[in-house]
């Protein structure tokens, strides 16, 4: 079925079309939910809520942008609402947690890289992770992130800076990326002078 057929079928509450749409988009969207959620069960609950909204609000899709983008937006907003509803993030706890974070050094096979990157993001404290997900991956501005999370724009910026630094550190430790800042070589500096 083409995307247009799927949309038409869903608008007519055709179960087969709904199932096909779910099968097509749920793997990606569950990954999105998983990055926001604390546990896999929470991610599945978020996905469920999101798809119920998608099927019931299908008539509001106006064919102006990409259908996947529309679905993704619903999923992200559902995740944020879910976190707010169940008070899953707490800034103070997040910072405490960040200070005690210990990442074990290991070598990751490249085939598992995407999964490991997601797992690394999930190692971040909830507040940092949410800001990073929204800004760096989902492409929201700090202003929008601030509005969504009901925090100031500057708070969003500072949280993102810390989150990014922490994630970078984790990725390096896990040897997923090379160290972007080479160690300071004072001998080389003197020679150059």
């Amino acid at each position: 079925m083409t995307e247009q057929n799927l949309i038409q079928g869903c608008l007519q509450s055709d179960v087969l079309a709904q199932r096909e749409l779910y099968n097509h988009y749920s793997p990606k969207m569950l990954s999105v939910c998983y990055r926001f959620a604390q546990h896999r069960e929470d991610a599945e609950d978020m996905l469920q809520e999101a798809f119920i909204k998608i099927f019931t609000q299908m008539h509001t899709f106006q064919n102006k942008g990409a259908f996947e983008g529309w679905i993704r937006r619903i999923v992200v907003h559902t995740c944020i609402n879910f976190l707010k509803k169940y008070k899953k993030f707490n800034e103070h706890t997040d910072i405490d947690y960040a200070n005690t974070l210990f990442v074990k050094e290991e070598t990751i096979p490249s085939i598992m890289q995407a999964k490991q990157v997601v797992e690394c993001i999930r190692l971040l404290p909830m507040g940092y992770r949410t800001v990073l997900n929204l800004y760096a991956i989902e492409g929201f501005s700090h202003k929008e992130v601030g509005e969504m999370l009901e925090i100031g724009e500057s708070t969003s910026r500072s949280q993102y800076t810390r989150a990014k630094a922490m994630l970078e550190n984790i990725l390096v430790t896990k040897r997923i990326i090379d160290n972007p800042k080479p160690e300071f070589n004072w001998m080389a500096t003197i020679r150059n002078k």
């Binding site: 079925m1 179960v15 749920s26 569950l30 890289q113 991956i137 492409g139």
Partner: protein, 471 residues
């Protein structure tokens, strides 16, 4: 959402990697989504049917109960009432003095009455023990009698000759019980048959009217006392342990379309399909009740409600894959891919068993015919059609390439029709009847809807045990 035009290398790396990542949700997630979405547009069929059944039963009860209300049959009209009042006035005027109120309450009369009562009780006990329907009216006997029996006839010796084994009280003329015309004529017949001549005359009293209401009342009481209980309504409760078998048929309609990837394996037949799907029948249960109405002495109409548990097991293997289901809809071949964890073939260490268990509600409507009605034992046959609503849908179906088992709720048919045939051997207890016998139940429509090309038909064999009682 604003796209950031100047993403740094790390941000770009994160975006690329996370976009590659995919995860598969458990089957329960889709089940919940589907339930939520479909619930909003579901037709409240069960509620409507339950309402119709309740209304139907209430109407039937209201129209048929009570069947023999004697008061309902007494219709008054002015002329009859006036005539009756006149007759009563005439009776009072014609009644001898000793029947007047003052005379009746005199100590002598009361003593006589007491003796009469005692005597009549004994007499009633005797008459109850004989097959003749003798109704002795104790009070106000003279007023309500149509006939009298000559004192010479009803001596103790005469009755003794009729009822030689019973003891009779000694009755004087004044204490004679009055019997109605039918009974007295029978007595006369018996008396004459028994050679005793003393009956001289049976004369009808003029001008002593009998109140029709009383007559009806006594007749109703008499009928109630003597007629055997013949209630047309019954109810029964039963349980049927049963085993579910199934047969699969592939309609292969998809082969007409030129899409080779979805075409069925033309070498396969229905028998190979049934061999590929290794299923084992499992024990189920039917539990229900019926309200019955006797149409004739032997034929009964029954309606009720029934809860069913039907299940069978499928031998499967744990293997991750995509189950492709070919669908022919609106003259177009299409397919549905469902992620699954179960296959029809695999390594023995990954073997698992899938339980296809259904919970259903049925409304059996049927007839029962009592073929043999013995004093204690009986045989009856019954047939019913059962509109059936399935409460759950989490069953596994096989993909159209026969390789995987996938969650089949998207194709599940919620409403179906079953027919049940049963043969019952019954045994009559004091107030009830128990029965036991084999039952066959057949599902008319395939378990899955028309979009799914492999048709499943179910057949249950069970033993029905129940108890039936009259209301």
């Amino acid at each position: 959402m604003n796209s950031q035009n100047h993403k740094d290398a790390l941000e770009q790396f994160l975006t690329d990697e996370t976009n590659k990542h995919e995860m598969f949700a458990s089957d329960a997630v889709w089940a919940k989504i589907n339930n939520q979405v479909q619930k909003q547009k579901s037709w409240p069929a069960l509620t409507v049917i339950a309402f119709l059944v309740v209304v139907g039963l209430s109407l039937a009860t209201a129209l048929n109960y009570p069947p023999d209300n004697f008061l309902a049959k007494v219709k008054y009209n002015d002329s009859v009432q006036i005539q009756r009042q006149k007759q009563q006035a005439a009776i009072i005027a014609a009644t001898p003095l000793d029947d007047n109120f003052e005379a009746r309450i005199s100590p002598q009369k009361i003593t006589e009455k007491t003796f009469t009562k005692i005597a009549n009780k004994k007499s009633a006990a005797i008459t109850d023990s004989i097959p003749l329907l003798v109704q002795i009216i104790v009070e106000n006997t003279k007023k309500e009698a149509d006939i009298t029996i000559d004192k010479k006839v009803t001596t103790q010796e005469t009755i003794k000759s009729i009822l030689p084994k019973t003891e009779l009280p000694i009755l004087t003329n004044n204490q004679l019980p009055v019997v109605d015309a039918k009974i007295s004529s029978e007595l006369v017949t018996i008396a004459t048959n028994n050679v005793l001549e003393p009956i001289t005359k049976v004369e009808k009293k003029e001008n002593i009217a009998t109140d029709n209401i009383y007559k009806d009342f006594y007749a109703a009481l008499l009928a109630k006392k003597q007629a055997p209980k013949n209630n047309k309504w019954t109810y029964d409760i039963y349980v049927t342990p049963s085993k579910s078998f199934r047969k699969l048929e592939d309609d292969k309609e998809r082969d007409q379309y030129t899409n080779s990837s979805l075409a069925s394996n033309t070498n396969t037949t229905n028998s190979t399909l049934n061999n590929t799907v290794k299923h084992k029948p499992a024990l189920g249960l039917e539990l229900g009740f019926n309200i019955g109405y006797n149409l004739t002495n032997r034929l009964k109409f029954k309606a009720g409600a029934q809860f069913n548990i039907r299940q069978y097991y499928i031998d499967a293997f744990q293997i991750f894959g995509v189950a492709t289901i070919a669908i022919v809809q609106n003259n177009r071949l299409d397919s549905l891919n469902i992620y699954t964890r179960f296959g029809s073939a695999g390594s023995s260490y990954a073997a698992t068993i899938l339980d296809n268990r259904l919970y259903q509600l049925s409304i059996p409507l049927g007839l029962q015919w009592d073929a043999i009605q013995g004093k204690k034992l009986g045989i009856s046959v019954g047939a019913s059609i059962q509109p059936t609503f399935t409460l759950n849908k989490n069953v596994y179906l096989i993909s159209t390439d026969y390789k995987y088992y996938a969650n089949g709720e998207s194709f599940f048919r919620k409403w179906n029709f079953n027919t049940a045939l049963d043969l019952n051997f019954s045994y009559k207890l004091k107030n009830a009847k128990i029965y036991l016998g084999p039952q066959v139940r057949y599902q008319h429509l395939p378990t899955y809807n028309d979009a799914y090309p492999i048709k499943e038909y179910r057949l249950d064999y069970g033993v029905k045990v129940g108890i039936i009682k009259a209301f």
